[in-house]
Symmetry: C3
Subunit: 153 residues, 3 copies
């Protein structure tokens, strides 16, 4: 099943690709790989979750934010390659989770992104992943996710 | 000398590939590159080192933990490509070191991974690398290491 | 216009490639991609900026430091591929900014690297990027930047 069909089946409308918030572009294509910029949990131009996990934010809220980051990643990659159905596989995800010093459930947060990618891409959505904490992210975002997609030639 | 021969010569038995601790896979292959997930210093299912450098953990202990991360990375990559001897070079390493705010010897910690890779791969183990600190890692692990390998076609 | 011509036009002399500060190499080439190690803001062997943003360092100083990281990245990549004019595009940048817990302007800092790359490479310098904070970097550096370049065959 194509990615666009699966999105329809899941009732997911891709967000408008967020613009880069600084001097870069949302995604680049090199050979068969598409690299996204780090995606914040922007929805209609507003951050869905700000704050630090374990301090002023809970895991479930950040999980939903990570899911939004992944939707934004699909959206910017689709824009870069011209058609969402050219995105054939998800290769790699890095998720940065803004955390207090004693919060260690970053994987549960980044699962929001990973599970969305697998819903949309099926087996081709199974990716290698790093989930790490950090004390500070841009705009006080709870999470930032970057993705490498494989692209059909 | 092949990687498997060198492992034998060094007396290294690769660990059983650790399973992913969340919704992803331990490694993916795209073209001639194999991307591993971020590897924690798991040995026989137990973390070798927890805590923050400069707070409750010393550099030598974390160095050994980083070495274990690299062994786990070789192991999951070998599993993904089917044969450790298909791993032909180490291209890139990123090491995240769980650190107190005033600890700045992350390179000495990540050397545990880099030196193991060079022992096993020889000159082909010489890689580009980033070593960075972070205030919090999954499961309170001292270190997390991800690797990109080049793969023989 | 070639990269070397543009550097001349901008009056930029590339720094001597900084040596790796530990057990790795400054850059590797795999297929059409050149991966740099994480570059610190070293200038003539001295760090241009140490400290944490929002605590003991301001954004403008760190912006200049990020620019130096990008110059160092071009320098080590040029050395790895043999000729700066073989570097044809900038694909991806990750910038780690040493930050206090309440500093969230990492993108403004990493713009120092991104804008330098676009000055030197023009449209081919437009890259995907992640900017993240961290509580601790090697040698107390304010910023660390890694780059993936595309290389002419």
């Amino acid at each position: 099943m194509s990615v666009s069909s699966r999105l329809r089946e899941l009732g997911i409308v891709l967000p408008t690709p967020p613009q880069a918030v600084a001097a870069y572009v949302p995604a680049t294509l090199s050979g068969s790989l598409c690299y996204t910029a780090g995606q914040l949990p922007l929805k209609d131009g507003v951050l869905m979750a700000q704050g630090r996990l374990g301090v002023d934010l809970d895991t479930d809220t950040a999980y939903q934010a990570a899911r939004q980051c992944a939707l934004n990643a699909i959206s910017v990659a689709a824009q870069a390659v011209g058609d969402v159905d050219r995105l054939s596989r998800v290769i790699k995800v890095v998720g940065f989770v803004q955390s207090g010093d004693h919060y260690h459930d970053q994987p549960k947060v980044v699962n929001g992104a990973s599970e969305l990618l697998q819903e949309v891409f099926g087996d081709a959505g199974r990716h290698a992943r790093s989930a790490v904490g950090t004390n500070a992210l841009p705009l006080n975002a709870a999470v930032e996710v970057e993705v490498i997609f494989e692209v059909k030639q």
